[in-house]
Amino acid sequence: MKISKKDILELLILLLLGFTPLLWFHGNEVILGHDAGLPLSPVLHFLDRLHVWTDRYGFGYDQSLFLPGFFIHGIEAIVFFFFHSLQMEQKITFIFWFVLPGITMYYFANKIAKKYDLQFFALPSAIFYMFNHFLLQGWFIAERTKFSLYAALPLLLAFLFDWQDKQRSTSKSAIFIAITFFFLNGEGSLPLFGGILMSLFTFVIFYFLPGFSVKKIFHLIGLIGLTVIASVLLNAYWLFSYLHYISHSFLSEVAQAGGLNGILGWLNYVSADSSLINLLRLQGIPEWYQNPLHPYANTFLGNPILIAISCLIPVLAFLPLLVVKGKVRRFVIFFSFLAIFSIIFAAGSHPPFGTFYILLVNFLPGFIAFRTPFYKFSPAVWFSYALLISFSINYFLERFRIQKVTKYLLLGAFCTGIILYSYPLLTGSFFNYVVGQRSNKVSVPSYVFDFAKWSDATSRSDIRTLVLPRPNIGNNIEAYTWGYWSPSPLTTLLTNAPIVNPTGLLPGQEYALVENVYDMMKNNTPGWKNYAKSLGIQSFLLRNDFAWNLKESPTDSPQDYTSALKSDELTKIKTFGEWDVYDFKDQDTAVRIQSSNSLSYIVGTPKDMDLIAQVPNFNGAEPYYIAGDPKKKNLDILQFADSIYIKPVCIHCNLQNSIINLGAYVPLITRSSRFYKVISKLKKPSAVSISDVAYDSLRNLLEFQKVIDEGKNISITLPSLQEYLVSLNILDKALHNFTQHISQENNSILLDIQNVLRNEKIVLVQKNDQIKDPELLNFYVQIYQKLGSIKVFVDSAVWTTSDEIHKRFFIESPMSESYAMLVRPDDIAQQGQKVSFVLDDTKYQVNPKQVENNLLFLGQYPLKKGIHKLDLEEPAVNLYTGPQDFNVSFSPEGSCFFSDKLTGNKNQIVRVSFQHKKISGMRQFTVLITKDNQQINSLNIQGDQLRSNASMQNYLSDYAFNEDGESFYFAICAGPSADTEEAQTDLELQNLNIRKLYSPDILFYTASNQNSQATIPYIKQSAYNYEFNGNNANNKQKILIFKETYSDNWRLNNKSSDFMVNGFATAWISNNGDKKSIIIYVTQNLVIVGFIVTTVAIMGSIVLVLFLNKK
């Protein structure tokens, strides 16, 4: 393709427009925050991304998925390397990403323009492709991954059309396409390829439209095959480790996104405004409608002129179908088809095609990845529109019989209009994504960079540091008073030092371990230092500039940790402006690798470690194995246990029954249907487990309920009821066999069955009124009695807490030992009192001995290996300390009665009970539990309705609340009176009682302290490679602990890891003596091989292209 003067001029215009990002920066502002992921230290960030293992996240993290960002972060690193200015780096890279889609689109559009002699086509296409609302929304977080594929799309189609028109050979086309996606790979994110896939499907359809032949199929397969081969070879540097990771972690990634249900919920949320009319008008961008403080959406949604323009956009886009004739029309039809086809997918779950999309998510393997359809598929819509609108512009300008200069002036006006329609791009206002509250343009304080420089120094690069305060538990938002706001921790963008941040990337177990440290530090609980050390935490970064009291992400104040940080074992070693760094005084820099001749065996969960760490002789240096954590088969870990900690499991202590979705068990077809016989024959013959038997009985009862509700006669209702009785008889028999061997697992099944039977009883009671036929009623009574007898049997067999005082536990003893028993009563007032309990049918009443931190020692008890039962008596304490009997008056304007502030615990349930009687007035009342007694008023009350009258009534209700463990108030409110005559309303309350439904802390343990641990000096070659000499001269079997996140890919001298210790770390049983040893993350080998393959493939591609050109 020859380059004309016009081409050069138009390219210069595009390059000039490419400098638009320069308008966005003022002062020393840089773009940072939200999902931008723009690093503050681009070079270090890039170098870290060359390794599959990084210390930047949690206790180490496999970042195989980040490797494809090689070019995106490589460009940033190179620019920063030369300019040493973050703002300059961002300006230059932003110009690059801004102009790139324009250039690639110009290349494609200019080809069409030259082939069909379209004078005014290429420039508006390119400008529209650069300046539009899709990119505008992407620019607020500078989504370089999105931009890269967006820029690749025109090139892909250019190469495909050239290939179809036989302008380029199959092999050369394949190499060109592969090279395009080698550089512009969207960071390997499959969902971002949505627009590319739409274009490919459309191309294939149009390829076969003129005629279908075997030759054409082979031709296409040849192109696809060669492209895939070339792409695999060129992208080998990330593809091998990426596929390795995906093959191991796809399901966990889906689970992390909330499972299928979570994804469908999200899908509905983001598709709420993606209606066809919005998409046709190039609107429907989710943020426009979800964010009331969006910087420019309200203008576009409310301004009549802009609305009119938006409606005229599709008119301009589809007008070419009417007016453009000749050979170029095939492109008009192609892009119209592509636009319409992509809109169906971009609409996601929005009607009318939403069901189709949901079916794809549910049933098409891998499609679940496209969980944000608008952003994934709409690039193809904008791409098509850019070209279609340019067809219209070209048509009008060529049709007008006016001077050429005037035509160019009109073209200029059109192009200016396109730019002005995306006017926020000219001001940079789109970075202020919540107007007046949040912006991605921030001025980073210099002390942040000072900290980065210091923490990246060799002396600190291996010291694991915990950030304080923690981010909000629910959303993990990091926000600073100077403007940074993001779910991505700032330190991960700042430094490669091992800084622990609780983020969504942390596995649930590790998140729980870190939360324990925060909870313990906040309360300055004894043992917190020991516990922190067990996690390899050596240092703390207190950020006094953390915006901890934001409404959407409240968390602990930095001051909450002051008392813990004042500990004698800690020292403040450095201050960087608002950031203070505290280290343990007994700093051993080599805690990453340790050896131990023993471990603690924990029967419990990571969450229980906060209690276990408080036991006086808990040794933080000794590794602990949590039963159930990953371990290699046939490995007897108990042989290394010198101490055992058992946290008994309280069964049903909160007295809350799980909710059964009865609707899901109502059969679609009942015996009143003509299809019933067919369906019954197709039905699976028998239930597999006893749970199935129980749920079968529920299904039968719900079928009976359905036929009763449908008003069917006795010829249908009676057989239905008979079938239910049959299923009850089967259940009864099965239960007698099942209860002969009760284990913890069986008990859980029985609890579930108990709940099913409870629900069945409720259904039977509710339907009683509808049974009129005497024969049916008689049978109904028999069934009710049968159900009652089964229920009594299950109630007697199941081990569960059934009242507020007697808490029932299972104790799983891994070996026969004499265990010390500790208990921490919920109320300090109970500490002087005797403790009564029944352990394996033996009653005890013990005078406890105070140990530490409210823990009471109840003596030594021998427990054989196996399951034991404990019934602990703990009187419920009334949290409400005011008078229990009193009258409350409510004013005519409406008012509330508030209790004093009551102390709460995290995730607790409280039970409220009282008797009540209305003394005067007409109004009704609302009962509520609230965290705030200030913002509640009588008009915005949301709570439980209290219908009082002149006689005394009982009230009892449970409240689940308080995710963050704040204090709370009990309140009764009455709204304003509609009756002007009513002076006031009076309510009498008696026996007001508010108590917690909770699981008391109990611990059984045996600790011998016959252990020895040693840290092993090592050389950290890189984040994935450690070298050391074994500290095991006598060749005795020892546990080697490597305090990086557990993975099968960690190898000690080529031996894969043996088990997980400390809830996160990797461990081996080793008898390597003093030999030199290496711990290596083997996936890195795939990366090294991949880089070699890629290098060879690049050279091969160049040679091949040169050879093919010559030929």
Binding site: L276, S310, I333, S336
Partner: protein, 118 residues
């Protein structure tokens, strides 16, 4: 003016008389489609794709009246221009409805245009 109105009404009447059999067929097809899609168990499909009866209507209409694709496209573009008003007045239901009609019309035009690809 009066004459024009009378002439227009007469023309419309004539058109309806001439196409009465087609209109009856269309209405019959609509009822058959609605009835069929409301039958037990088949109605599950209709619950999922509520627009199906109208798709049937549209196909029957296309088969019976054979409108030109240029005409369909002009109607679609005119509807898009008309959609400015419900959008400005924030009558979202109406705007969405016109968007769905426009979409069906565009799909039809593109479908008819595919024959031109050689």
């Amino acid at each position: 003016m009066k004459k024009r109105i009378v002439s227009s009404v007469r023309k419309s009447y004539q058109w309806y008389r001439q196409n009465l059999d087609k209109i009856i067929l269309l209405i019959a097809a609509h009822f058959i489609a609605v009835y069929s899609l409301n039958l037990p168990y088949i109605n599950l499909i209709k619950i999922l794709f509520s627009f199906l009866p109208y798709v049937v209507d549209w196909i029957v209409l296309l088969l019976l009246f054979k409108p030109k694709k240029e005409f369909i496209l002009k109607v679609a573009l005119a509807l898009l221009v008309f959609a400015i008003f419900p959008e400005i007045l924030s009558v979202q239901r109406f705007a969405e409805f016109s968007g769905e009609i426009v979409f069906v019309l565009l799909v039809t035009v593109i479908f008819y245009s595919l024959k031109e690809i050689k």
